[in-house]
Amino acid sequence: GRWTLVIHGGAGTIERDRITAEQDAAIRAALSHALETGSAILRGGGTSMDAIEATIRELEDDPNFNAGRGAVFTYDGTIEHDASIMDGTTRAAGAVTGTSHTRHPVTLARRVMTESPHVFLRGSGADEFSLAQRLEQVENSWFETDRRRRQLEEFLAGETAGLSAYDVDLKYG
């Protein structure tokens, strides 16, 4: 009857001197709360699928994390989400990319898995499917935060100064 839940809120150059004590406390509190939400489901005998969806919905609503509300901006100043989910029991899976109006992208990914014949839906088609599934819709602006807008402005300023992150020598792919 053992259960385990592990979560993450992103990895990267998280520098101690750039995170204020308030941000540190807020992030730890958000992680703890999301962890407890999922743990309560597992403790009560609930499924791992329900536990991870509930946990991630909470993190998507928290502006501290790059997902849902508080996600980063695209080059064009909009916000587009990606999400995926997979059930180890059946290896069923659902995924969406480039969605703009679904408040909880992880729930949309799960609906793709359970209510569509597909695994992966993209962009306006995924938005259309979300509407058909009557999932909660929000204006794209609802996801915006000042911190992420400043990050986009810094990024674009770098572009103008010729320090493009799309420098051909900077090869990710």
């Binding site: 259960w3 791992s48 990606d82 989910i85």
Partner: protein
Amino acid sequence: TVGAVAVDTNGNVAAATSTGGMTGKRWGRIGDSPVIGAGTYADNRGCAVSATGSGEYFIRVGVAHEICAQIRFRFQQNLAAARASVPVDEEGVPEYYVHASEFGLEANEVQEIADSVIAEMAELGGTGGVIVTTPWGTGTYSFNTPGMYRGMASSEGGASVAIY
């Protein structure tokens, strides 16, 4: 990017990841988070994985599936070794049978596998991390960045969160 992996009291695992991608992304750039097998994978034979980091590298290494596959192979190796070590009688019949359901990987083996796949990704130049759980209840972090927002809870012992 946010992610969660879980194993429930029935031993079923699941994984999910959600993200806004990278600041200033253009040309329809997609990272690993929505790519099954790269940023997210779950299979009751091995593990559940959610990843975060420079998505292009997680896609190229197929990180989530690679970790699951290596855990599965290690499980099969360990099980075969355990069965081979059972004493047999003169007719060659084993004294007892090692059931797969009684078997599992230890947390340190999962850690070793997760670390090796993250290291392989780093060789290509990628940075980031994964969270892993298995049907046997282990919970694992592995990352090569200065920090990863993360948390873990289990029926075996408490809950903890960390940043650096």
